[in-house]
Symmetry: C2
Subunit: 157 residues, 2 copies
């Protein structure tokens, strides 16, 4: 199984790039993982929030392949404790054949087409985070999950 985090727009700030890269590299010790970036829409000022969401949704759906298991990071998704997320990943590693794709949407959330395509929704918190922050939070949790499954010392329960 290949795991991918699909995001809309580049991570801009240097300290987030550094922190995200750090966890990405550490996660790669355990699984095949990469971050795929859908370029940010241009001229968003001429678009309504709804139009921007629709257009981003089209780009997201285009980036997906048949057979991908698609998981949205969504405020209405299921929240899990870190060890529960690790168990969930273990189950996915045993059942998903091709790509496990996590998606972080744009500033206004996901379009209906993306919700329709998704297999599951998960939430990292009830709180809303910046796009850069949620990427960092996700990669840290993915690394933590892999470390838990491999009996590493990173996580204290």
């Amino acid at each position: 199984m290949k795991t991918t985090l699909l995001v809309v727009g580049k991570t801009v700030e240097a300290h987030y790039i550094a922190a995200i890269n750090d966890y990405t590299q550490r996660t790669k010790r355990y699984i095949s993982f990469d971050i795929e970036v859908i370029p940010e829409l241009k001229n968003t000022k001429s678009l309504s929030a709804e139009q921007q969401k629709e257009k981003e949704g089209e780009l997201i759906c285009k980036a997906l392949q048949p057979g991908d298991f698609v998981v949205l990071l969504d405020e209405h998704g299921k929240e899990r404790r870190s060890i529960e997320f690790a168990d969930w990943m273990k189950h996915k590693m045993n059942t998903v054949n091709k790509r496990l794709i996590f998606i972080i949407g744009g500033p206004y959330g996901f379009s209906q087409s993306v919700y329709d395509r998704a297999n599951e929704k998960i939430s990292m918190s009830k709180m809303t985070f910046s796009h850069q922050m949620i990427r960092l939070i996700f990669v840290e949790q993915l690394y933590r999950a892999m470390n838990i499954l491999n009996g590493g010392p990173y996580h204290h329960e």
Copy 2:
């Protein structure tokens, strides 16, 4: 009201320091806010988890003053959405006279003495984050709350 984030041990990695400073400075536009660091315990290898927790607890209690309203960031605390946390902050700004102290504990959590002194517990997520990450998450949410209360554009609902 003065707001303080009390943490155990310095933030070490440069990219976290940069990100945390950024949100700290931005938060200061709205409220009096600082981060207070309790130096890390030395020779923790000779201590059990329980002993380390106890010793950290003593240092935490020593840093508190009578009249402080003490809020623990704790996995058993109440989770709120970002706008709910903003409302909660607004209420605190109207009711707390002296210091509002948020505390992030050490790797093994809080000792009973700290739980006994606390007025409230809040949780940022069901997930467990690294100490550096939870500091960053907290300052981003505090900034977000202040921006929400002041009608800023940072938060999309």
